[in-house]
Amino acid sequence: MGDFDFAIIYNNLPFLLEGMKTTLLLTVAAIFGGIVIGTVLAMIRLANIPVLSWVAAAYVNFFRSLPLILVIFWLYFLVPLILGRPVGAFASVLVAFVLFEAAYYSEIIRAGISSIRSGQAAAARAIGMTYSQTMRFIVLPQAFKAMIPVLLTQAIILFQDTSLVYVVGLKDFLVSAELIANRDQKLIEMFVFVAVVYFTICFAGSMIASRIQRKLPV
């Protein structure tokens, strides 16, 4: 390890940071979009609306049966085709992640909503609140609080999964690091650095998740 070259990292920091920005942007946008669509899917399934609930269930099962890498690949070709114009790798990848994550989030959220005692909804309905008020003010706030650890864990998995975007050539953190590693023949330095960064972020995330888990009432 004597000639481990730290300068290669330092000198390319702006470029690597740019890659990390793409990774984080994708992660955050996919979490947000996935939770929004996932909540809608979960509520449709729980409300037992005849055709809609079936469609929502089919959607969830469809995406949960596909490898993410395939979804990324397919949407890279499909999104421009559907829109009739090129949209760039980031946009198509973002759509892929949101659609894919929504399926997983909807299952997490569905379990979270089901874990809230039915008496809570009954009490809200009994004072005259509508179904959506009951969801918004009573059930969802409690459900999300109980779900925080699982949502965080899912976010960590998502953060790691964003590295799959290399298949469509999007320059995320990993691809950026790889480009430098190959260009300057510093494979060891770059991949050790990449591993340390991914590990630090994910480890910190899971520590936070388990701390919240312990604080929450069972």
Binding site: R117, Q120, A123, I127, G128, F137, I138
Partner: protein, 242 residues
């Protein structure tokens, strides 16, 4: 004010309510009792439409509850309900619990809701606990907050489903005192309970249920003096035996 006519309900093939007919007049207190599983909770929940019925008719004032076109949310905002397990909203303070319905359902202003909530918390003896969360209160205190939450909507009637059966003995009286006071103020009340002391004190009538049927619907004096059915007699002797 509340009128139930030949109400029947099934869960699948199991008939939980069987031709129930009874009524609660304005200002009247009706106690509903009967063995566990006899359909008391189901019956009281049909009054505000939390449970639907398949046969019969339920009317509250001029509103036909069992009519599909009825705006149930509006009806429910005028009928208070208190549950066995309190069902306070655990993510909100006591004050917010009592304010929420006023603001979101009745559209009252924040300050008006707050004043009303404080007044009612004072009335149930919990003015000092307004800022606490439900989990910081005893069961008896939580149930009194739940009563205040119902009263905050200025209800025309209050429904109680075994309000004291989840409570430790020493807290039961605090809750019953609040209910007695409410009854003496002229509130229309339908109360599922086995607290016969409460029934003797304030009930006008007692309804006895068994296996989904109303077996006996009598004035308090008739019910305690000489219940006509064997089953009501047995039930009474069991719960009054010590």
């Amino acid at each position: 004010m509340i009128l139930m006519e030949n109400v029947s309900k099934w869960y699948g093939s199991f008939q939980v309510l069987n031709g129930c007919t009874t009524s609660v007049s304005k200002g009247e207190v009706v106690v509903v009792c009967g063995p566990s599983g006899s359909g008391k909770s189901t019956l009281i929940k049909t009054v505000n439409g939390l449970e639907t019925i398949q046969e019969g008719k339920i009317t509250v004032e001029e509103t036909i509850v069992s009519n599909r076109k009825t705006n149930l949310n509006q009806l429910r905002s005028r009928i208070g309900m208190v549950f066995q397990n309190f069902e306070l909203f655990p993510h909100m303070s006591v004050l917010e619990n009592v304010k929420l319905g006023q603001m979101k359902v009745l559209g009252r202003a924040d300050s008006e809701s707050e004043n009303k909530a404080k007044l009612l918390l004072d009335r149930v003896g919990l003015a000092d606990h307004a800022a606490k969360f439900p989990s910081q209160l005893s069961g008896g205190q939580q149930q009194r907050v739940a009563i205040a939450r119902g009263l905050a909507m200025d209800p025309i009637a209050m429904l109680f489903d075994e309000p004291t059966s989840a409570l430790d003995p020493e807290m039961i009286n605090d809750v019953l005192d609040v209910m007695v006071e409410l009854a003496n103020d002229g509130m229309t009340m339908m109360v599922v309970t086995h607290e016969m002391g409460f029934a003797k004190k304030v009930a006008d009538r007692v309804v006895f249920m068994d296996e989904g049927k109303i077996i006996e619907d009598a004035t308090k004096d008739d019910f305690f003096g000489s219940p006509r059915s064997d089953r009501a007699q047995q039930f009474l002797s069991k719960i009054l035996s010590y």
